[in-house]
């Protein structure tokens, strides 16, 4: 069973590598240069890939949180914790690359634009989630509270997506409504490159998730061994206490029967 899952993980790792290398090639060699932004716009492909992977991670925290509250199965809690951690990694990449991209285009590293602000709030929510988890890892009450926190935090995702439409924002709107319906506002080569980069980062997310869940299972194994050891020591302890206190002491002759 373990070998079978390892093989799947190898295949997933290989597919991730292939898509990421192809994405890098396409981002630099295949996709045309954007007229207004120049070369720096090529950050966009992996920046958006990170955003997509971050959103999928948070969606998974949401689903796993609901499943954990309904079933109480530790496996769902493991998935939620792992997805939140990897989601924070991808959201950090998105925040930093967005800032680096903004500097030559907008002239500032950061601006309190609705999309940027709501995304920063999302990042802070899941950093707080991880801090909450780290405060008491083995407490089921903390796991339940974290599940609720993760579910409520996911509400920020649609706000981030809709923020550029709902409020005045300088962030670009990727999906544009035209007479032909919703379009990307990109050339076909750019769309193809974007799809390959997003797929590559999605696969990377699932690969890291599988590794992270395995790590959590290993940690549970350590805890189980420790608990079993503590329980055995506890079971042996009364035997030692029940032993007569003065067993080896010499009894005075007058007290002997």
């Amino acid at each position: 069973m373990a070998r079978h899952s390892d093989r799947w993980l190898d295949v997933l790792g290989l597919a991730t590598g292939v898509f990421i290398v192809a994405g890098l090639y396409m981002a630099f060699m295949y996709a045309p240069t954007e007229v207004n932004m120049g070369l720096v716009y090529r950050i966009f492909y992996f920046h958006l890939g990170s955003v997509a992977a971050g959103f999928i991670a948070i969606l998974l925290v949401f689903i796993a949180g609901i499943a954990y509250l309904r079933t109480g199965a530790r496996a769902w809690d493991r998935v939620a914790e792992a997805a939140a951690e990897i989601g924070v990694v991808f959201c950090t990449i998105a925040l930093l690359t967005g800032s680096i991209w903004a500097r030559p285009i907008w002239g500032v590293w950061w601006t309190w634009d609705p999309r940027l602000t709501s995304f920063l709030i999302l990042w802070l929510i899941y950093v707080a989630y991880l801090m909450l988890r780290a405060s008491a890892r083995d407490d089921p009450r903390v796991a339940r509270f974290s599940a609720v926190f993760g579910i409520v935090g996911a509400i920020d995702v649609p706000i981030v997506i809709m923020s550029a439409r709902l409020w005045r924002s300088i962030s670009p709107v990727l999906f544009q409504e035209t007479q032909q319906g919703f379009t990307f506002g990109l050339t076909p080569e750019m769309v193809q490159t974007l799809m390959v980069c997003i797929t590559g980062f999605m696969l990377l997310f699932f690969y890291l998730l599988a590794q992270r869940v395995r790590l959590e299972a290993l940690r549970d194994q350590v805890l189980a061994i420790r608990r079993a050891r503590a329980a055995r020591e506890e079971a042996q302890a009364p035997a030692r206490v029940e032993r007569p206190v003065g067993a080896g002491r010499r009894v005075p002759a007058s007290n002997r029967p």
Binding site: F46, W101, L218, V222, A228, A247
Partner: protein, 81 residues
């Protein structure tokens, strides 16, 4: 279209931001993969150590139990009895 020195400098500056952007992406991802691998090694080490300790404790316990078990004459073989 004439390409001026200003355009070339702007492109070079753009290129440096592109470099920073991609560096950040791969440093964070590789750093995370490295921490995952370290944590896995650490946990595997803990599992091995705990198993060894438990095995050693179990073998000690079985030795003590065999010493404490009474022999044919009903006397205990244990030293403290």
């Amino acid at each position: 279209m004439d390409v001026t020195l200003k355009d070339i400098l702007a492109e070079i500056r753009n290129l440096s931001y592109l470099f920073y952007g991609y560096s950040v992406i791969w440093i964070i991802i590789l750093g995370y993969v490295f921490t995952l691998s370290r944590r896995e090694q650490n946990l595997r080490g803990q599992v091995e150590e705990l198993r060894r300790t438990v095995d050693a404790e179990e073998s000690d316990q079985s030795t003590v139990d065999s010493r404490q078990s009474p022999d044919r004459t009903g006397r205990s073989l244990s030293r403290d009895q």
